[in-house]
């Protein structure tokens, strides 16, 4: 078949993405002294901090994906039912917020719920609540910050899928004497489930890969360990070898590949009835 018009893109992405990725795979197995082996991987497995980081990232991914689904699914549903004005506002907000995963975000949250943040002081002043918020560098605090871009991410991911839920199914359920709740239980939720699962998987992957925010909120010794932070630290501190960064990056790629397979399977399930 004919590939010509796609060759520029394929060549470009090959050089810019596939080659670096391949290089990382190579560095995962290449030993400092020459030759190939599993030493680098074993060293990462042995390192308790790397283990903490893997656990932290997976935990964050699971919690984020779950919270983003729980909040994002109804939000997306409500957005689809809005008039143009409201929809334009919310879509734009979701759009910008989903990309707002950087220093500005960390800054905003510190100014809001840091120990001397605006909201902290208001709550403390008005209701005498001491320490109402966890520190943004802790696991819980990070979850609060990450939702800011993950909920929009989930909304944007699932919005197109929501259009599969036809209005007349609700009406049909009503004339079948079903309550609204029965409609959601028997039809709405089962139909949307594959898309929600797919969105969950993508948010999970995305969360684990986020670096800039983590860097901004959690770079102190006491804060939550994450895979990306370990990678970043290696890049910042190691002159002679980036093996650990390579190993952890390959781990991220494997996670992504795994979730992508699950994601495809989940969507395939949806195809059964669409």
């Amino acid at each position: 078949m004919n590939w010509a018009p796609a060759l520029p893109l394929l060549a470009f992405t090959f050089v810019m993405l596939v080659l670096p990725a391949t290089r990382l795979v190579n560095d995962t197995f290449a030993l400092r002294g020459g030759g190939y082996g599993l030493d680098n991987i074993l060293r990462v497995i042995d390192n308790p901090v790397d283990r903490q980081a893997v656990a932290g990232s997976l935990g964050l991914g699971v919690v984020q994906a779950t919270l983003a689904s729980l909040l994002g699914a109804p939000a997306a549903w409500l957005i689809t039912r809005m008039r143009l004005g409201g929809r334009a506002f919310w879509l734009s907000l979701m759009n910008v917020a989903s990309n707002f995963a950087g220093i500005g975000l960390a800054f905003g949250f510190v100014a809001l719920i840091g120990s001397t943040g605006m909201l902290t002081l208001i709550l403390g002043g008005l209701f005498g609540i001491e320490d109402p918020f966890p520190s943004t560098g802790s696991f819980t605090g990070m979850n609060i910050v990450y939702l800011y871009f993950n909920v929009p991410m989930f909304v944007l991911l699932t919005l197109p899928a929501l259009s599969v839920l036809k209005d007349d199914w609700q009406e049909a359920a009503a004339v079948c004497h079903a309550t609204r709740w029965q409609f959601w239980r028997h039809v709405g939720v089962p139909v949307l489930a594959p898309f929600v699962i797919a969105g969950w998987l993508l948010v999970f992957t995305w969360t684990i890969g986020v670096y800039a925010v983590a860097y901004a909120v959690a770079a102190s010794p006491g804060s939550q360990k994450l895979i990306t932070l370990q990678i970043g630290a290696t890049l910042e501190s190691s002159v002679f070898g980036l093996e650990r960064a390579a190993v952890l990056s390959v781990l991220l790629m494997l996670l992504a590949a795994g979730t992508t397979v699950l994601y495809r399977l989940s969507l395939k399930r949806a195809q059964r009835w669409l």
């Binding site: 510190v110 560098g137 010794p221 910042e236 501190s237 002159v239």
Partner: protein
């Protein structure tokens, strides 16, 4: 180092051609040598003016390791010129081969461990890891490392991360020396920080001027000269900051200057600059910022009183020790910190 293939035909060992310095400095990208860091902005400006030029100094903030790596990565298309490093990274840079074999004449005034064997880096000024405290927030500021363990400072102490920051690494050495260790034995520091962490006193907030100002992290372990600069800056905003040298000990931790061996197009400028930072003039400029010039530490420089205006009284430094910090292997600190403190 100095192989002909990588650095072309440029003769690093020769004395700089002073006439070229102004032109070569016209465009000056540096790594980790910010104009607001230790008065480097002034230092560069004065040096350029001296040679009849005006430098356009633009900096990218990096850790020492990143600087070395970066210089190596861009060797065939060199951009970076000069970088500030924690001195323990000097030998690392030399081993990596990113610095030229040039020993400036002024380096003769330094002790052996304060400069490169084959050239390419020199110590510039020293800082003391100390406690920078927002006293509006902390009415009873800690006086010693031991104080930091008190429960009243729960969640208040922010530090740099020794896995990536030179300041953080110096802090580890200081804590080791204060707790009975030495440059050869940093283990007391790890035990200490482990205790500090388990006590819950370490904050997981980032250490920065902003978190200091707002009292997010009211106790920060930073270089004395940075603390003094912050104290002055925040005074303008009516925030009170104290810089406290730990009474149970700390260390004189030198910073150094490395220059990019591959950037031969600016070779004369770099050689001149490497020499200049040890001149009386440059050393005085460091002092005015609050950093002790290395030559002053060595007792080789008499500073005018106004240059010391920003300093804490000498008495505060009585427990501070001088050490050969280049004996410390920074990559070792990263590994040990992870294994012994974080795990």
């Amino acid at each position: 180092g100095g192989s002909a293939t990588a650095s072309g035909d440029y003769d690093w060992a020769a004395a700089p051609d002073e006439s070229k310095i102004a032109a070569q400095g016209a465009d000056l990208p540096t790594y980790g040598l910010a104009p607001d860091w230790a008065n480097y902005g002034e230092v560069v400006k004065t040096f350029c003016a001296k040679h009849g030029g005006a430098c356009k100094h633009a900096d990218t903030d990096m850790s020492s390791a990143e600087e070395i790596q970066r210089i190596d990565a861009e060797k065939s298309n060199p951009v970076g010129t000069a970088s500030d490093i924690g001195l323990m990274w000097g030998p690392v840079a030399e081993a990596k081969g990113v610095v030229p074999a040039y020993v400036p004449p002024s380096a003769s005034r330094l002790k052996d461990w304060q400069k490169a064997k084959d050239g390419g880096w020199v110590a510039t000024f020293v800082g003391v890891p100390s406690f920078v405290v927002n006293t509006d927030k902390v009415t009873n500021p800690p006086k010693s490392w031991a104080d930091l363990l008190k429960p009243e400072y729960k969640g208040m102490i922010a530090t740099k991360n020794p896995t990536s920051s030179g300041t953080g690494q110096a802090m580890v050495v200081a804590a080791a020396v204060a707790n009975g260790g030495s440059v050869d034995d940093l283990s007391p520091a790890y035990d200490y920080f482990k205790k500090l962490k388990d006590a819950g006193n370490l904050s997981d907030v980032k250490m920065s001027e902003e978190t200091l100002e707002k009292g997010e992290a009211p106790i920060q372990i930073n270089y004395d000269f940075n603390g003094l600069a912050q104290k002055n800056a925040l005074k303008a905003k009516n925030v009170n900051v104290e810089v406290i040298i730990p009474s149970d000990g700390s260390v004189w931790s030198p910073s150094g200057l490395i220059v990019n061996r591959y950037n031969t197009a600016k070779g004369d400028f770099l050689k001149g600059f490497l020499d200049y930072v040890l001149s009386d003039e440059a050393q005085t400029l460091f002092a005015k910022f609050g950093a002790r010039p290395i030559r002053s530490l060595n007792g080789d420089l008499q500073l005018p009183a106004d240059a010391k205006a920003n300093w804490l009284p000498d008495a505060a430094y009585s427990a501070v020790k001088e050490i050969e910090i280049t004996k410390v292997n920074p990559e070792r600190i990263v590994a040990d910190w992870e294994a012994k403190v974080l795990a």
